[in-house]
Amino acid sequence: MRFRVAVIIMLFVTSLLITGCNGAKELDDVAYVLTIGVDAAEGDQLIFTYEVAIPRALASESPGKANLKATVDFVTVTAPTLTEGRNLLNSVLARAPNLSHVTTFVIGEDLARKGLTGFLGMTMRLRTFRGATDIVVVNGKAKDFLMQNTPEEVLPSRWFQAILSTGDDTGYYLRTSLHEFYVRLKSHSGSPYATLMGINPLNGEGRSSGPAASNDNVQHDYLPKDIPRTGGNPATVVGTAVFKGDKMVGMLPSEETRILAMLLGNYPRGFMTITDPLAPQHSINVNLRLGRNPKIDVNISDEHAIISINVFLKGYLAGIPSGINYESAENNSILNQQISEMVRQKMLLMLQQTQELGADIVDFGYYLRPKYATAQEFENLHWDTLYPNAKFNVVVTTHIQLTGLMHKTAPIPSEKMQ
């Protein structure tokens, strides 16, 4: 009996010793990297900008003090791979670098245009990083963006999390995770896209980019650097970086990103400014949301793809500066038609642009896939060559259901105007 007990104890102890649980580190023996910026360097080299947290700054006695101190430190190293960059970082920092708290990868435009394959593979394979890590492309250099980003938040990583999660308030930018990006990259149908960020010059100048619909004279389609603004944090998030394969080929400005969100069924709500159909010198504000997921059907006939899109928008009135009574049934239908037509044209313009870039960022191929029995058959179709020549049938229906808190708009009496 005693022998058996001894054997059991020995086996238990042995099993504890061979677990390999010896990676314990004190919390304050570790340097936490919050964000990694990646830029292209000469040859195959990459420039990594590590944003390393300074925990002491966060643990100050009085809560207000933390803001005054710098909470992060920047280390930039040039290395061929992510892991080599980490090795070099280890030589710079006294503490062991820990990348598990990296929440955002910031990719410089030059690297994005050069191709992300080598870099992405490693992020997906390493256990340190999670698929939910955000990936953003910066209109310019990632290093500059990180250095110039001076948010109100205590931690820059918190700024990234907060601003990316509020994208669904406007639909002006879409959050993209590493996993989604990678899946799109390896798929045979859709192309990847990523959130676009950039540094605004803050000079108050800037103009709308992107084509406008024929019945739209409101110019408000912006890329990060184009927003006319002054003051605040120069870092700006708006628009979408379009990829073909692992290379970035173009950028969609804000309104077009919103159209993309509608087509992805990912447009929760947002204010939209449209030209007043009865008084074109004015504009009307409405808040729109998707009434249902877009109905998309893709057919192949004569080696040509025909893509039918049916979008249903619902919403409420937010402002009628012209004072025309759009609450009435007949005016309402005019307004509905105006919105539908504007969205339809904008959608066609956006899709045309992606066709020119050769990147199916809506992933229309996904809707075609069920029509083939095997993956092989679908792959033989070569969707990427079909897409640029595809024809679109777009139907947009709008229903302005609610009038907000005002029941009826009456114009300002004419005698007062005089």
Partner: protein, 627 residues
């Protein structure tokens, strides 16, 4: 012939060491499943046989009485004198005649068909009445019932028997208002048998405030259970209940370790008799049996075992009795010591019996079919067997409205979870799994640790040990000072430790929450057990992180599931899976508690009918129903 060589010898040696050998101890006690309640045919036959056996015994006793009378009559008549004695013979003869009429076969068959129930009427025979009371109160098992036989001074002497429950009666009233007038102040001149004996005694010789005449055992039992003294007279099929109620109640104080918001406020005392009485005032039932034992060769401590005879599993009762009688020691310090002598796993930290100082907690458990153990001189009464989940039930759970009680119960289980794992989880995550913490929280904790010269596990250990010191000191320091020490110790020490950069604020928060949570567990012994487990978890987390935590939790699960509390599985009704009444984690409404706990395998599983709120099925009170 093959002889053993070195190799075969080695082989046999190893085989002997490693092969399973059945344990030398006798098999452990396991509470068996009760068979279905339907009585089998053989049971019925035995029942009938028993009845006729009892009938025959009754006849035999009657016959003995007749023989005694005849001898007496013979003696008296042979003297050939007409005297008072002859007159007495007449009275005795009348009593015998009366008893004979009771023994009419039809009547007897009818009465025996009922079994010994309270509905039976009293007999004229004193001996007969005593037999019936003994059956009703499960004598000689039950030691609470006292029979006092007296002779009332009169001509002839009136043979009388006083019956009462020890501890529930006021002895002074009894001595001075019953026994003294009947025995000492009487005289031979009295002719009590002339006319109505009972009426004579009540009117002339019983100077007590309340008396009651009863003719059947139901009333008699009720009176005795309520602390009355029953006087039963020879030759009369009637008894007197004399009001002698008077049990200990002044010295009873509030329970100090089990405070309650809504429950009763009386706690047990050191006096065994007071304690049994306290329980009897809650369970006024003749089914409640008190068995007494003497444990301790030198101390001769009295141990009382209480159970409901018609509910508790007889095997369980027999087993506990066997274990108590099988304790051979010099002295018995307290009920806790006794439990350690008789419980199944004395080496494990988990309590296997519920200790309480609240009579209102013992009552419901007894009626569920459990057994209560009282040790003279100790106010803590142990209830057994219990399951793991009982320790998280507070006594007032059923006094509070359902949602409130359940909220508190869930809070208690959550508190137990926190008290067990929180420090270990903190260490495991901060050492091995930093990615599990939100970035800002992680950086705040890491930042607050920058000034601390010690590793995190040492911080946690320092705080855990100081918390234990404060707790232990609070218990040892008497009275009000104890709480003061707790507050001063906790607040000042924690604050000073942070300011001196000995521990980080995060650790103080973790330990404080853990400490608070451990006090939500109502049972002191269980919270102590959890405290021990917490240290074990902490040690393994320091070494192996979440793997260590999981390892110990797994071992705990194995241990808990293999445990038995006096033959009943400890984790019942989860392992083994049994019919769980709606009172395990959360409780159901009071009217749905229809079954007694399945694992107790009681004689009668049913606690209340399916529809316990009979008024629900009846018409509401209408006009004209008022009295």
């Amino acid at each position: 012939m093959i002889t053993n060589n070195v190799i075969t010898n080695g082989y046999y040696f190893l085989k002997k060491l490693l092969l399973y050998q059945p344990p030398s101890d006798p098999p452990p006690f396991v509470l068996e499943e009760t068979p279905d309640n339907k009585p089998s045919k053989s049971d019925q036959v035995t029942g009938e046989l028993e009845n006729s056996f009892q009938n025959l015994e009754t006849f035999l006793r009657y016959a003995n009485r007749v023989i005694a009378f005849l001898t007496k009559a013979n003696m008296s008549l042979s003297q050939g004198q007409y005297s008072d004695k002859t007159k007495n013979l007449k009275i005795e003869y009348q009593a015998l005649e009366k008893q004979q009429s009771e023994l009419e076969p039809i009547l007897l068959a009818y009465q025996s068909g009922q079994g010994v129930t309270g509905e039976r009427s009293l007999s004229t025979s004193l001996e007969e009445n005593r037999q019936i009371i003994e059956t009703l109160y499960h004598l000689p098992l039950n030691k609470d019932i006292v029979f006092r036989e007296i002779d009332i001074a009169s001509d002839p002497l009136v043979k009388t028997m006083a019956v009462f429950i020890d501890g529930m009666v006021d002895t002074k009233i009894q001595n001075y208002a019953i026994f003294q007038p009947l025995m000492l102040l009487g005289s031979d001149q009295r002719r009590l048998y002339d006319g109505d004996l009972v009426d004579n005694i009540i009117r002339k010789y019983l100077p007590t405030n309340q008396v009651q005449r009863v003719v059947n055992f139901a009333k008699l039992q009720e009176g005795i259970n309520n602390g009355d003294t029953a006087l039963i007279f020879d030759g009369v099929a009637e008894a007197i209940l004399v009001n002698t109620k008077g049990w200990e109640h002044r010295s009873i104080e509030k329970p100090s370790t089990e405070p309650t918001v809504r429950g009763s406020q009386s706690g047990f005392t050191e006096n065994l008799r007071t304690n049994t009485t306290l329980i009897r005032t809650i369970m006024r039932n003749s089914d409640l049996v008190t068995e007494l034992f003497k444990v301790g060769r030198r101390s001769q401590t009295t141990v009382a075992m209480l159970y409901m005879k018609s509910v508790a599993n007889p095997k369980l009762v027999a087993e506990i009795k066997r274990r108590i009688q099988g304790v051979c020691t010099d002295d018995l310090e307290s009920s806790g010591t006794l439990i350690q002598f008789i419980e199944d796993h004395p080496l494990l930290p988990f309590p296997q019996s519920l200790s309480t100082e609240r009579p209102d907690r013992v009552g419901p458990h007894l009626s569920e079919g459990r057994v209560a153990l009282i040790v003279d001189g100790n106010p803590y009464i142990h209830i057994l067997p219990v399951s793991f989940f009982t320790f998280f039930h507070a006594s007032e759970d059923f006094s509070l409205p359902l949602p409130i009680a359940n909220f508190q119960r869930i809070l208690r289980f959550f508190g137990a979870l926190i008290a067990t794992v929180l420090p270990a989880l903190y260490i495991a995550i901060s050492y091995f799994h930093v990615e599990a913490l939100p970035t800002q929280l992680l950086l705040t904790i890491a930042g607050s640790r920058e000034d601390i010269p010690f590793p995190a596990w040492f911080e946690v250990l320092i705080m855990e040990i100081s918390f234990e010191l404060i707790r232990e000191a609070g218990v040892r320091v008497p009275g009000i000072l104890g709480t003061t020490i707790g507050i001063v110790g906790a607040i000042i020490l924690g604050q000073a430790a942070i300011t001196a950069h000995i521990v980080s604020p995060a650790v103080v928060v973790v330990i404080a929450i853990t400490g608070l949570a451990s006090f939500t567990i109502p049972e002191y012994l269980m919270s102590s057990a959890i405290r021990v487990v917490r240290f074990l978890l902490l040690l393994f987390s320091i070494y192996m992180g979440l793997v260590g935590l999981a390892t110990i939790l797994l071992w705990l699960t194995v241990i808990l599931c293999s445990m038995k509390s006096f033959g009943m599985p400890y984790m019942v009704p989860i392992a083994p899976r049994t019919i769980a009444g709606f009172d395990v984690i959360v409780r159901g409404p009071v009217y749905s508690q229809n079954q007694r706990p399945d694992a107790l395998n009681t004689i009668d599983q049913k606690r209340q009918p399916q529809i316990s709120r009979l008024w629900k099925k009846k018409q509401p009170a209408e006009k004209g129903d008022e009295e």
